[in-house]
């Protein structure tokens, strides 16, 4: 067995060493590009998922969202609940929000969207909206008649929102009138404008809790409480922990809140990825098959000679499989280098998606899966033509 492998390796090595360098390099490059294709799209999908997750956590939901019990519109006794949640180990911050649909009026323009009443200090402990102010400042604890507004809602003078709510040119210091659902109207001065790249957040506005609570007649109540956990990625565990500490309201993870949108987007991406992967692998199979087929057909006589002098058929087949394994290994290595280059470029110049900049995320499992699938198709594509040629009758092979 070992002798057979030694002979097969010897023949494979000599054929690669003294065979056509041009064919070798061409095959290597095709394998490398197939590898890039196998890794690239999944890394973009992972990047989209990661961007969406971080956008959801940083701007929309925190890690967990506590909502009123079923049948209730608001969470009551928010202060006590907030303190209770913050005492649970692993909870880094909470931010109660009152949300309401309102209509904004500004210089003859109006836009329907959401207004959130927040405690600025609490909000800072959960979301990162305060870090994304592009003009003006974030809210402060004592503010009463001030508002901060998303960049899309504030808009640009003369530009319509293309279906999104926009006031077309609100500036810091301007006054905006807000009509609440109960018909009450209030005027707020714009303190700042933020841009998070999350459409839902950038089309909304925030003010402090008091004015919203007063208008809606709420006291120590909230529509939802956003919860920030110490570590991301363990939302389900923290959700269970909240229940185990006696939280009786509904608790959702950010994934549950965002499920519909992300799932649909990912499903579409996965279909594209599956097609792309399949096409890439078929290309790899066809290329390797053709290369080895031409190689074995050209060496049909040599294969016959080797059999005639007593070299076992399996040794000859193995020598071709080893050549293919070598090409696949080198191709994967070149592919890794090329992928690293593409990933580096896209990390410096990220793709801009509606949810924010997408940085490619290469997962080790994707790389391993790509290498494994390349090897499997390579071995199959190398084995079949070698096997077909090596089983030919010796005299037929030699006398051709």
């Amino acid at each position: 067995m070992l002798e057979n492998l030694k002979v097969a390796s010897f023949l494979a090595f000599k054929q690669i060493q003294r065979g056509s360098k041009g064919t070798l390099i061409l095959t290597l490059m095709i394998i490398a590009l197939v590898f890039v294709n196998l890794v690239f799209l999944p890394s973009i999908i992972s990047g989209v998922v990661e961007t969406f997750n971080s956008q959801s956590i940083n701007f929309n939901y925190g890690n967990l969202v506590i909502e009123p019990r079923e049948g209730e519109q608001y969470i009551s006794d928010v202060d006590t609940l907030q303190k209770k949640v913050e005492r649970i180990p692993g909870i880094a911050g909470t931010s109660p929000r009152i949300s309401t649909g309102v209509t904004y009026f500004y210089k003859g323009h109006d836009a329907r969207s959401t207004l959130y009443g927040i405690n600025p200090q609490d909000e800072r402990s959960v979301t990162k909206i305060h870090e994304n102010m592009i003009r003006g400042e974030f809210l402060s604890a004592g503010d009463t008649d001030t508002i901060i507004m998303g960049a899309i809602l504030a808009g640009t003078e003369g530009e319509e929102g293309g279906g999104l709510p926009t006031l077309q040119g609100v500036q810091v210091g301007d006054s905006v009138e807000v009509a609440f659902p109960n018909g009450e109207r209030r005027t707020f001065q714009v303190k700042g404008i933020y841009e998070t790249q999350s459409i839902g957040v950038d089309t909304s506005a925030f003010t402090t809790t008091d004015p919203v609570a007063q208008v809606l007649g709420l006291e120590d109540q909230a529509s939802e409480i956003l919860v920030k956990t110490a570590v991301d990625g363990q939302e389900e565990m923290y959700r269970t922990r909240l229940f185990s500490y006696g939280i009786q309201q509904q608790v959702f993870t950010f994934q549950q809140k965002a499920a519909g949108f992300v799932d649909q987007a990912i499903q579409s991406f996965e279909i594209i990825n599956a097609i792309s992967t399949l096409v890439s692998l078929i290309i790899a199979v066809v290329v390797i098959f053709i290369v080895i087929f031409i190689n074995t057909v050209n060496k049909r006589r040599q294969i016959g000679i080797l059999k005639a002098i007593g070299i076992d058929k399996q040794i000859i087949i193995n020598s071709y499989v080893l050549q293919v394994l070598f090409i696949a290994t080198l191709g994967a290595l070149v592919g890794i280098v090329l992928t690293a280059g593409v990933i580096y470029y896209l990390t410096v110049n990220p793709l801009v998606f509606p949810g924010g900049p997408v940085f490619p995320v290469v997962e080790p499992a994707t790389v391993l899966r790509s290498i494994a699938s390349l090897f499997v198709v390579s071995v199959i594509a190398g084995y079949i033509p070698a096997w077909k040629t090596a089983r030919e009758e010796i005299l037929d092979a030699i006398q051709r």
Binding site: I305, I311, K313
Partner: protein, 229 residues
């Protein structure tokens, strides 16, 4: 010892049946240098292919050292060729990617011989055939005579019990042919090597102990001719 019993070989070429051998029987003793002669199409090469286990007879059997070699499986026949036979082809049949010594040692490698031993033996055999200075040359860098010497070195490197040669001088000039035949003669006389060689050159006959002459797939004559050796 080789015993051939009533060997026939029938080919089918489309609807035509070609009877290459029509019942050939003979015995070749160990250490004999036997020439198989005959006109083109007489069945010489077919017979050698069957003796070399490169082809199977339609009927009859071949016994080599009392072993019915036709009963061996393909794999067993491959092993038999590796361990017991040496084969020299008319057109050398070297592997172009390998150097002279690599062509010679490839069968030793497959036999599991140690690296030190096969490299030593490979170099020694190449020296014996007069190619001591050409061990690392590839086929394209060797003359026809040199290539045939490499092929002979490959055939004898493992000291096979039988050396089969299919018109080994067909592509060589008479001087190179003589040196190849002298080499065979030396192997036969010095090492008591059994050699079966196909030839259609009259002047080769003086090298053979015995001649099996074929005609139309049958033995035409069988004669001793070592008087001239």
């Amino acid at each position: 010892m080789i015993v051939a019993e009533e060997i026939t070989r029938v080919y089918r070429m489309g609807k035509v049946e070609v009877r290459a051998l029509r019942g050939v029987s003979f015995t070749i003793a160990d250490g004999e240098f036997v020439g198989i002669t005959g006109a083109s199409g007489s069945g010489k090469s077919t017979l050698l292919h069957i003796l070399g286990l490169l082809d199977r007879p339609t009927s009859g059997r071949v016994l080599i050292d009392d072993r019915d070699v036709q009963r061996l499986s393909d794999r067993q026949q491959t092993l038999f060729r590796l361990k017991r036979l040496g084969y020299v082809f008319q057109d050398y049949a070297l592997i172009p990617e390998l150097t002279a010594i690599e062509n010679v040692i490839i069968t030793s490698l497959a036999r599991g011989v140690s690296e030190k031993e096969y490299l030593g033996r490979g170099a020694e055999v190449l020296r014996e055939v007069g190619l001591g200075g050409r061990t690392n040359h590839r086929q394209s860098e060797l003359s026809g005579g040199e290539q045939q010497r490499v092929a002979i070195a490959r055939a004898i490197v493992n000291k096979p019990s039988i050396l089969l040669a299919d018109e080994p001088c067909a592509n060589l000039d008479s001087e190179t042919s003589k040196s190849i035949l002298d080499l065979f003669k030396q192997l036969n006389e010095d090492l008591h090597q059994t050699i079966v060689m196909v030839s259609h050159e009259k002047w080769h006959e003086r090298y053979f102990c015995r001649i099996i002459d074929l005609k139309d797939g049958r033995i035409n004559s069988m004669r001793e001719c070592n008087v001239n050796r």
